[in-house]
């Protein structure tokens, strides 16, 4: 018997909302939304955790500007290190940001291990940055975290819309709670999400040319129009504002 499965719910019991930032497609801004949402929440004095589950494509440490990788402190488990006020777990603290080639079964095991040993303690929000695809990570999160809610990201592209629509349909079939769909990197002229996801459409995040230069810098990130738009998505962050 794998003892870890039985302790996952207990480790998350003091957390208000557990939100997976997903979409099924890569490069749509999941890590951007996850990181900036966590920053914006912390900046609004919410207790927020960030769990980066994109092990091979880990990006939140780059966005948030984590440069020194070190092991978390231990006390009846591991205590998430704080970064910009966020309780933050990324596999890069264990791999020193080396390439991490894992098969599905390894990913399942690593997720279970992290969920079993991490002591998040009390949080208003735990934000989970998801990898692209509908894969072991997606299936495990649905199976292991019964209170999970999905926030879906999409972009104004025919390719993205088709892929994201399929993921959303699957989540709906599985009765997984969907907080809403955000259309990211919109230009003034092209939009698809409002029509493709009429029931769950939340709004748009503009393409922000200043973002590239803000990456790694907390203050600049909080000034991007991405962060400012996220502050207004009260459907996701219902305790905010």
């Amino acid at each position: 018997m794998d003892p870890r499965i039985n302790v996952v719910e207990k480790r998350l019991e003091k957390i208000g909302k557990v939100i997976a930032i997903a979409g099924g497609k890569g490069g749509i801004g999941k890590s951007t939304v996850a990181s900036l949402l966590a920053l914006v929440l912390a900046d609004s004095n919410q207790k927020v955790g960030l769990l980066d589950l994109d092990f091979t494509g880990a990006s939140t440490h780059t966005i948030l500007g984590l440069e020194d990788f070190h092991f978390p402190d231990e006390d009846e488990g591991i205590i998430p290190p704080k970064l910009h006020g966020i309780s933050y777990i990324t596999i890069t603290n264990f791999t020193q940001d080396h390439a991490t080639p894992l098969r599905g079964q390894d990913i399942t095991n690593a997720i279970l291990e992290l969920l079993a040993i991490t002591r998040w303690d009390e949080l208003d929000y735990l934000i989970i940055d998801m990898p692209p695809g509908i894969n072991d990570t997606t299936l495990d999160i649905i199976r292991l975290i019964k209170k999970i809610e999905f926030c879906i990201v999409t972009t104004p592209s025919k390719i993205t819309t088709k892929v994201v629509k399929k993921s959303v349909e699957l989540l709906q079939e599985l009765n997984v709670s969907i907080l809403g769909v955000i259309e990211n990197m919109t230009y003034p002229t092209i939009h698809y999400a409002k029509e493709a996801f009429p029931k769950s459409y939340l709004g748009t995040i503009p393409f922000d040319e200043t973002y590239e230069n803000a990456i790694g810098d907390k203050e600049k990130l909080l000034e991007t129009s991405i962060a400012n738009t996220l502050r207004n998505f009260t459907v996701i962050c219902d305790k905010m504002c």
Binding site: D2, P3, R4, R103, E113, I117
Partner: protein, 137 residues
């Protein structure tokens, strides 16, 4: 010491099994400790005793047997099989510590000795595993 969290998982599992099988007393828990995670028998024993302090009465007379399971790998690329004990001397302290927290980081720090691939299966001896739980009804 993060072993407490895993010991807690073991006792939580025993509680669940006791409930499902209507046990009034848990007498024995056999735990396998996978060599890969380099958890010391003494530390895990201590962690279990700590967790058991707060456990309900049905654990009053439980014995926890800990068995270390040697870790073994099989390469998906070339089929070669080898043991962790043959290669662990090549790991530095940080690498061993990473694997201690998340055994899958072995794929970052170890390679198949024959073909150098990181694409191997952890066949046995990964981490903490509950082998059996015995009790009285």
């Amino acid at each position: 010491m993060h072993e407490w969290a895993l010991a807690d998982a073991v006792i939580t599992t025993a509680k669940k099994v006791a409930k499902e099988e209507n046990l009034i007393k848990v007498t024995e828990i056999v735990v396998k400790i996978g060599e890969l995670q380099t958890i010391s028998r003494e530390i895990f024993e201590t962690a279990l005793q700590q967790v058991l302090k707060d456990a309900p009465d049905l654990f009053n007379e439980v014995t926890c047997k800990l068995e270390i399971e040697p870790a073994g790998f099989k390469c998906m690329n070339c089929g070669h099989e080898w043991l962790f004990s043959d290669v662990k001397k090549n790991l530095d302290d940080d690498e061993t510590e990473s694997i201690h927290f998340i055994p899958e980081t072995a794929h970052v720090f170890l390679k198949c000795p024959t073909c150098k691939s990181p694409d191997f299966e952890i066949v046995k001896g990964r981490g903490i595993w509950v082998d059996s739980i015995e009790g009285e009804k």
